[in-house]
Symmetry: C2
Subunit: 297 residues, 2 copies
């Protein structure tokens, strides 16, 4: 491999090795229709996407203060289609822990969940969701400012059928987010979804996280790779580690390089959160050795 000033390219020796192995005979096998997700947008989600796209143009801008960085609007709506497909949306009580993606709004547009509750540390997100809900007359959509380091409000414990969260990518941070969500679930049969990248998390870290998930009483029922695509901006300009770590000078990316896997979990046991009560994580909440698309605070 060598760098031609624009991108990495194969050297002559590399090309010979590729041919010897037969790698050049293997095409991309990913389905183009669904980009490998296995899910496409059919009614009512195709219409949800249209309206959702208009509403989010007025969204608060992502801030690295809270490790925000939202997924594409298509990802948000595809996630709901996946949940509907798995029986986790229609008539369900849904908790969203951290919602800079504004999933609550897309979910409410579908008219399918019974109740939608958002907890987010950013009052701009909470305010925006409340404003849209008031304008649209959605009385089943609620949003509260909440710091994941605080205990889960008592009136939310054991009240939900399904959660979705796209947590920070440190092991302790993920366990903290998942613990709060777990505490909010009703019991066996309740389900949860969360996103995990392999850009900021090694397989070793995945294994630790998976062990914690089982310990909390869940089985992992689905893992959809590269399901979530993020809309990250100014990666180089803002000095994200991933740009500074590059062995050559890099420009702003022109493809969505940050994707993540969606996990679906289902409680087979009584919920056993790893953390309860007040937990101080500070900087460790957001940042560890593997973080590279997270800005140090």
């Amino acid at each position: 491999m060598t760098y031609d000033g624009e991108r990495f390219v194969l050297t002559e020796a590399g090309r010979r090795q590729v041919e010897a192995l037969g790698l050049d005979r293997v095409a991309e096998q990913r389905c183009e229709t669904c980009a490998g997700r296995g899910i496409v947008l059919r009614p009512p989600f195709d219409r949800v996407l249209e309206t959702f796209q208009k509403i989010v143009t007025m969204r608060p801008k992502a801030t690295p203060n809270f490790d925000q960085g939202y997924v594409t609007v298509e990802t948000t709506v595809l996630r709901l289609a996946l949940m509907a497909q798995r029986g986790d949306l229609v008539g369900r009580d849904l908790l969203l822990l951290g919602d800079d993606d504004l999933t609550a709004i897309a979910a409410a547009l579908s008219g399918l969940p019974r109740r939608i509750f958002v907890l987010d540390v950013d009052e701009r997100i909470v305010g925006f969701i409340r404003d849209v809900a008031r304008d649209r007359g959605w009385d089943n959509v609620h949003a509260e400012v909440y710091d994941v380091q605080d205990p889960l409000p008592e009136n939310l414990r054991g009240q939900f059928d399904v959660f979705f969260t796209d947590p920070v990518e440190t092991v302790r941070g993920i366990f903290l987010f998942l613990s709060r969500c777990t505490e909010a679930l009703r019991g066996p049969g309740s389900a949860g979804y969360f996103g995990l990248s392999f850009l900021e998390a090694s397989w070793k870290k995945w294994r630790d996280i998976q062990r914690g998930i089982l310990d909390m009483g869940f089985a992992i029922t689905d893992m959809l790779g590269a399901f979530q695509e993020y809309q990250l901006e100014n990666i180089v300009a803002q000095g994200y580690p991933v740009a500074r770590m590059a062995p050559v000078a890099v420009k702003e990316p022109d493809v969505s390089f940050y994707v993540s896997t969606v996990y679906r979990l289902e409680l087979t046991e009584e919920p056993r959160p790893l953390f309860t009560g007040r937990v101080e994580l500070g900087r460790d909440l957001y940042y560890d050795d593997e973080a590279c698309v997270t800005l140090p605070r």
Copy 2:
């Protein structure tokens, strides 16, 4: 719900409930192009499928003696496409533990793996694979008769980059199959694939299996739901429990009702098989409380 003599249908009350919930407004969200798998057949696998289809017409018939029941030819080749996509096929040493699907033949047709080794308890399968390999002049394809209750032959330990197995569906049986495969892997970075249904395995059982997988030193990196489709015949005629358990008289199914999830595992630690040496499981190898598409022996 009621039974109209042909199929289960909604009652009038059921239909009203569906409308009240909005369930009738939710279409099937699965991608039709790839049947929700996310993977399609592109070169060289489209050509592999063509030739493979011809070869398998002469295959030995599935026997319930060994809980056989093979997947469709498309499934076999799609699985290889998935492995290629994850970097687990080209130039790799591949172990197949149990191969009534004849994956070895499809893999050899692709020309991509370095070495392909089959272990199967059924000498008809071993003989068939050897015959095809001899006819085609494949000197990197090997097949041996092997009972999973026997220790893994010493010369196969620590020799493979990748395994695939579609084991029995009892927890101890799965652990035994995966243990043999784990013992055959080189070490951290080596990968494995196996199939698991949710028809014969509850989420509780999935959780137990997932714990065992982590204990053996793996992270679970992918889980592709309903990736494998089986070609089962004479379900009613052979008296499979699933047909006898039905609350009404059933006919032979006219759709593929048996599907399974493909797991991809990757070792992040030194391999730690749960079982080594000779292990007698007898009838418990194949049969437990949740078995319903397995014939009691």
